[in-house]
Subunit: 338 residues, 2 copies
Amino acid sequence: MVGIDDVARHAGVSTATVSRALSGNGHVSPATRLKVEASAGELGYVVSSTASSLASGRMKNIGVVVPFLDRWFFSSVVEGAQKSLLKNGFDLTLFSLTGGGGERRIVFNHFLLRQRVDAVIAISLELTTTEVATLHALDKPLVGVGGPIEGVRTLTIDDVAVARLATEHLLSLGHTRIAHIGGNEDVDRDFHLPTNRRVGYELALTAAGITPAAELFRPADFTMKSGYQAAIQLLGNPRGRPSAVFAGSDEMAIGVILAARDLGLVVPRDVSVIGIDDHELADFFGLTTIAQFPQGQGEKAVEILLDRLRPGQNQLSSLNTPMPFELLVRSSTARPGE
Amino acid sequence: MVGIDDVARHAGVSTATVSRALSGNGHVSPATRLKVEASAGELGYVVSSTASSLASGRMKNIGVVVPFLDRWFFSSVVEGAQKSLLKNGFDLTLFSLTGGGGERRIVFNHFLLRQRVDAVIAISLELTTTEVATLHALDKPLVGVGGPIEGVRTLTIDDVAVARLATEHLLSLGHTRIAHIGGNEDVDRDFHLPTNRRVGYELALTAAGITPAAELFRPADFTMKSGYQAAIQLLGNPRGRPSAVFAGSDEMAIGVILAARDLGLVVPRDVSVIGIDDHELADFFGLTTIAQFPQGQGEKAVEILLDRLRPGQNQLSSLNTPMPFELLVRSSTARPGE
DNA sequence: ATGAAAGCGCTAACAT
DNA sequence: ATGTTAGCGCTTTCAT
């Protein structure tokens, strides 16, 4: 294994200079830097990350914790983070809490206590005060994505505004009987989505002079199947059937479309459907939706963390950073029939 | 930060004994071990992974490389691997090659050369001989999952057998005009699925005395949309319409079901559909499929790697380990109408 | 079964 | 701008 002193010898400088030249920390004359880089390249030298970390205290590694991995939102955020980290020479250590229970404690005692990461991204996770405090005590920056963490900077779309926009789109088309399929308690516990989406829905309705009807709300668990089942109930009722459905996620919205078809209803002629996400399947189903950009959220999270890791830049930024979203009209929404 | 000598002092032993007691390497009397463990617990001691790695050369970290993350198969394998690694005290460093091109080289020069992992799992990736050689030279065990890597132990289902079983299921129901939607060249390049599935299909047909008809094969890219489009062509033809379709993946199979519905065909009365995977959506669509178990594949990959990492256990096992699969009959297949 | 001590390969403070 | 050098905190021979 070629080490730093091999390079130093070869380039005719000290190890310290090699370290400085290669890491970019400290001043090195351009000529020397070139010489060092040439030597390093020639010898095929690569720093030992362990030795470097031991000496510097930096790991160049950030931990990403997710509840599951096999969901579009989570894996997209992770991909975004990964991409951004790679560019900055950081590794991504993944912790998937699949299985629940014990896993979570193990993860916390495993990577927090072993100091293997410089910072942490928690996706759609509600950390306990203790967990946050532990991280804080170890001086590990933490940012959340898409989940409510007490007192921690969290990146998320403004759920109220998004739901409001979706509902207003339907309203503006002339719909007045608009149903909403939102999260149930289990979802809230598992995904920690703020139930704000329902709030935005009701706000939009009220602003339009419509009183939200209890029978037009259905809880579901964010899967296509649950969206389907909720929609069957909603649309199967021949009296007072809604002319439009706002689903809290695209997967549920697709379930609604499928249910409508099975009931012999044509979308959007008989019923309009709108979702949230811009899931990879949304385009195929012609689903109108409010797009959010999970990859961008992952990238942004990394950006914030790396900023905070840079010495001096210890400014605490605002706690809540609203992320962009965008109405994407496709063919599942239209003016109500007759 | 409480270090190993704090523990040593507190327990009244040497640092070497602490190290041995806590790591399980070397002999320590039960009494001493207990004393050390108590001290460590009391002081809240946790080894510094960097110091430990620097001294021992072990990282307790394995790298997982995937082409994408937001696909059911990939994220499931990763979840399986993660779960299994966690149990063994290993971290998982994720490398997603999303974006292609430069990313790949960076990854290879980034984690191979920095010695940050003890071993590598490559998922559905065709590594170049150079890449494999580099890993080999660095003495990093490597196992592939679901992709063909020259000369490397790879875990995968027997695609020929799987396709054959799927086709035979259809045959045994009495179908004779069986179409197949398989991968196109792009898929082959991106996912490196062996095109063996088509081979198995044709084998089954031939064995049943049926000559595979060219017009009953359609290439697609493994997405729902491409499955839909292929099926529209296949099923839209009023003459010689197949009575059954075997799709190379569940997502495509679901596309087929949707296409059938749009054409006014009833599944399985007018057309039977079978896929491969047991994707999370398969159940919802009542899709008959050949289940494969990606989580299990991830777990198995870890198991093999950890085995190889254990000193002494350097036995090279057989190169090709066929993974289990299983026919799951749901409601999308039946005897052909009249 | 336990202890003493020599590194592991680099970084960063200090000196020049 | 560059060199000298003392650690970083543990693991592992080698003794005992």
